[in-house]
């Protein structure tokens, strides 16, 4: 049993590790709240990868060329792979993939609210790559330096693949913009729908983000939501110009004094409704995951039973 004195020593060692920006590893002592925060954040990220397979998977069967079909299927497959790495990272914290999947299905754990928006045209595949993966990269790049070792290392690999996906998405939109008038209109319409939800991906504004301060002190998070959102807007504006699309915000303008773009007010009411479960696709996404999990139960049971028989033999 750990005494109060030992605990204080462990905690000061932990704090020193964080202060030196060294990694915390699974066998290291860590405060229980740090562990819980990590499980919550990494699981939410893993769930986002798995739920994120659905909106793009929606277009695999209708991809308009065989090359695009291969690219899309491979991308969605990568998302399953990201989910696997991240669930593995949470397993080092003492929680199983099955437990986490059950928490996703029960609604006890969240995933990125962006995936509660529908994909309504093939252009959405490109827009998700450009804006959604782009926003995810802005969020995730700093996490490569996060304090928990397995998470940081998983993020390095994931960021590389996300950046590749983002380029593929942007390249699809570029190609469509060189196509017919209908295709250009499709791209613009898709950007119109996904721009604001993409900005919401950075989470609530800093003054309404209760977990940020502690997560930053622990080195789990390294930038605030608003800082990352601003970075994303500043990066995206020239890309939109190069693409030839308009971002649907009349207030979007360069601010010489701030050396950054001003932009309009996000509809936080919609954000909170989507986070709260009332977005256009929340029920559908969870039902899809739940059905896949339930439909696969007999297979997982068979695999376990077979493995037990093999061991016994």
């Amino acid at each position: 049993m750990t005494s109060a004195v030992d605990e204080a020593g462990l905690e000061s060692h932990f704090e020193a590790t964080i202060a030196h920006k060294d990694r915390i590893e699974p066998r290291d002592w860590m405060p229980e709240k740090y562990r819980r925060t990590l499980v919550r954040q990494i699981a939410q990220h893993a769930h986002s990868e798995i739920i994120g397979m659905q909106p793009e998977g929606n277009w695999i069967s209708r991809a308009p060329s065989l090359r695009r079909k291969a690219i899309l299927l491979a991308k969605v497959q990568d998302e399953a792979g990201h989910g696997l790495y991240l669930y593995s990272a949470t397993e080092t914290l003492g929680v199983t993939r099955t437990e986490l999947t059950e928490r996703l299905i029960s609604g006890a754990q969240k995933y990125s609210s962006i995936f509660n928006y529908p994909t309504l045209s093939y252009a959405d595949v490109g827009t998700i790559g450009w804006l959604v993966d782009g926003a995810a990269i802005c969020n995730q790049v700093p996490l490569c330096r996060t304090s928990f070792g397995p998470y940081g290392r998983a993020m390095i690999r994931i960021c590389k693949e996300e950046s590749f996906h983002q380029r593929q998405g942007y390249e699809l939109l570029m190609t469509m913009m060189r196509g017919t008038d209908e295709q250009r209109a499709m791209v613009q319409e898709s950007v119109d729908r996904f721009w604001w939800p993409s900005l919401m991906m950075f989470g609530p504004p800093d003054d309404a983000s209760p977990n940020t301060a502690q997560s930053m002190a622990w080195g789990i998070k390294t930038h605030t939501n608003d800082e990352l959102r601003q970075r994303f807007v500043d990066m995206t504006v020239p890309q939109a110009e190069a693409l030839g699309v308009t971002l649907p915000d009349p207030d979007l303008a360069w601010n010489e004094r701030r050396q950054a773009h001003d932009f309009g007010e996000i509809d936080w009411d919609e954000f909170w409704r989507v986070v709260g479960g009332d977005g256009p696709c929340n029920a559908q996404r969870v039902a899809h995951r739940s059905k896949a999990w339930d439909d696969g139960a007999w297979v997982r049971e068979a695999a376990s039973a077979f493995a037990r028989k093999q061991e016994a033999a």
Binding site: Q77, R145, I156, G296
Partner: protein, 324 residues
């Protein structure tokens, strides 16, 4: 020849450096506007047969070679479509990834075979408006109707449960691997190369399906019930795989193709081996009849194919001048 797969991910902007060098990752996003020909490596359209000599060998009727390639290509394309329907629906993440791999391999085979058909006999390629940029492989995939598809019916049946999909992949891969092993000796260098690449892929598909068939057959009562039911449902389509169509006979006679009737014995033996290891009896199954003897190879399909194609082709057909 190019192997038709998406190349390894480009790594020029993202370094897997230690935390201290983490700022390098910022470039992954900032680099989006870099004007680099390879910046989205693998996404530029390349003719899958670029740089390959597609001359039809002497003594081979181009229309026969093209029709034969369409048969093998359509088998792969339609099976790939069905398997990719599993994406985000598999029993666990590992199986989701594995099924996507199999679908991607078959899609890659389909692209090469459709491109080979078009190069051998351009008259098989559907005509589109004169300014259409749609490449031949996509014209063949998206602008033919079900009656012009030459795949076997087993490939197109609607998906059942995971046991059904495993059983179907097992049957198809046993058959196709036996064909492709012989096809590596084709007088058509393109087909021989496609087959050589395909043999490696199909060996994995057969292994994956065989292991799962055994696992399900020996797992629980429920899994055994399901997988044996799937086998009973699918076996009536087995004989169709080994019927020799006139095109296959002609392709075999001219040394470019394989007569599927020639691989029946070997395929039966492999299947019997999997069944024996799994402790499953081979069901008595009368072959599923066609219509006046016509089946998939004749363009006479189940009701499921035209629905599958209606979905697959919907976006492409709405934009016959589209650039993707």
């Amino acid at each position: 020849m190019p192997d038709g797969t998406v190349p390894e991910h480009s790594t020029e902007t993202a370094h897997a450096g230690p935390a201290a060098h983490g700022t390098d990752h910022d470039n992954a996003y900032a680099g989006l506007l870099v004007n680099d020909a390879h910046w989205a490596f693998g996404t530029d359209f390349e003719d899958p047969l670029a740089g390959v000599d597609t001359t039809v060998p002497d003594g081979v009727e181009p229309s026969v070679l093209a029709a034969y390639c369409l048969m093998l290509g359509d088998d792969a394309l339609v099976a790939s479509e069905r398997i990719s329907e599993w994406c985000s629906r598999a029993p666990d993440l590992e199986e989701d990834i594995a099924l996507a791999n199999i679908a991607l391999d078959l899609l890659g085979q389909a692209r090469l075979l459709l491109a080979r058909a078009a190069a051998a006999d351009p008259s098989v390629v559907p005509a589109l408006p004169g300014d259409s940029p749609v490449p031949d492989e996509d014209r063949l995939a998206f602008f033919r109707d079900d009656r012009q598809f030459r795949n076997v019916r087993l490939a197109e049946l609607p998906n059942g449960d995971f046991g059904e999909t495993i059983t179907r992949i097992l049957l198809l891969s046993i058959w196709r691997l036996a064909l492709f092993e012989r096809l590596t000796g084709s007088r058509d260098a393109v087909l021989a190369a496609v087959a050589a690449k395909g043999v490696k892929e199909l060996t994995y598909h057969r292994d994956f399906a065989g292991r799962w068939f055994l696992t399900l057959a020996q797992g629980t009562d429920e899994s055994r019930r399901r997988v044996t039911a799937a086998l009973t449902d699918l076996m009536p389509y087995w004989a169709e795989l080994f019927g020799t169509h006139d095109v296959e006979a002609a392709a075999a006679a001219s040394g470019v193709g394989v007569d599927p009737g020639q691989v029946a014995g070997e395929a039966d033996a492999v299947l019997d081996q999997v069944l024996a290891v799994s402790g499953v009896d081979r069901p008595e199954a009368a072959p599923r009849a066609g219509v006046r003897g016509r089946t998939g190879r004749d363009g006479l399909h189940t009701e499921a194919l035209s629905r599958l194609l209606a979905e697959t082709q919907s976006v492409a057909r709405a934009h016959p001048r589209g650039r993707w």
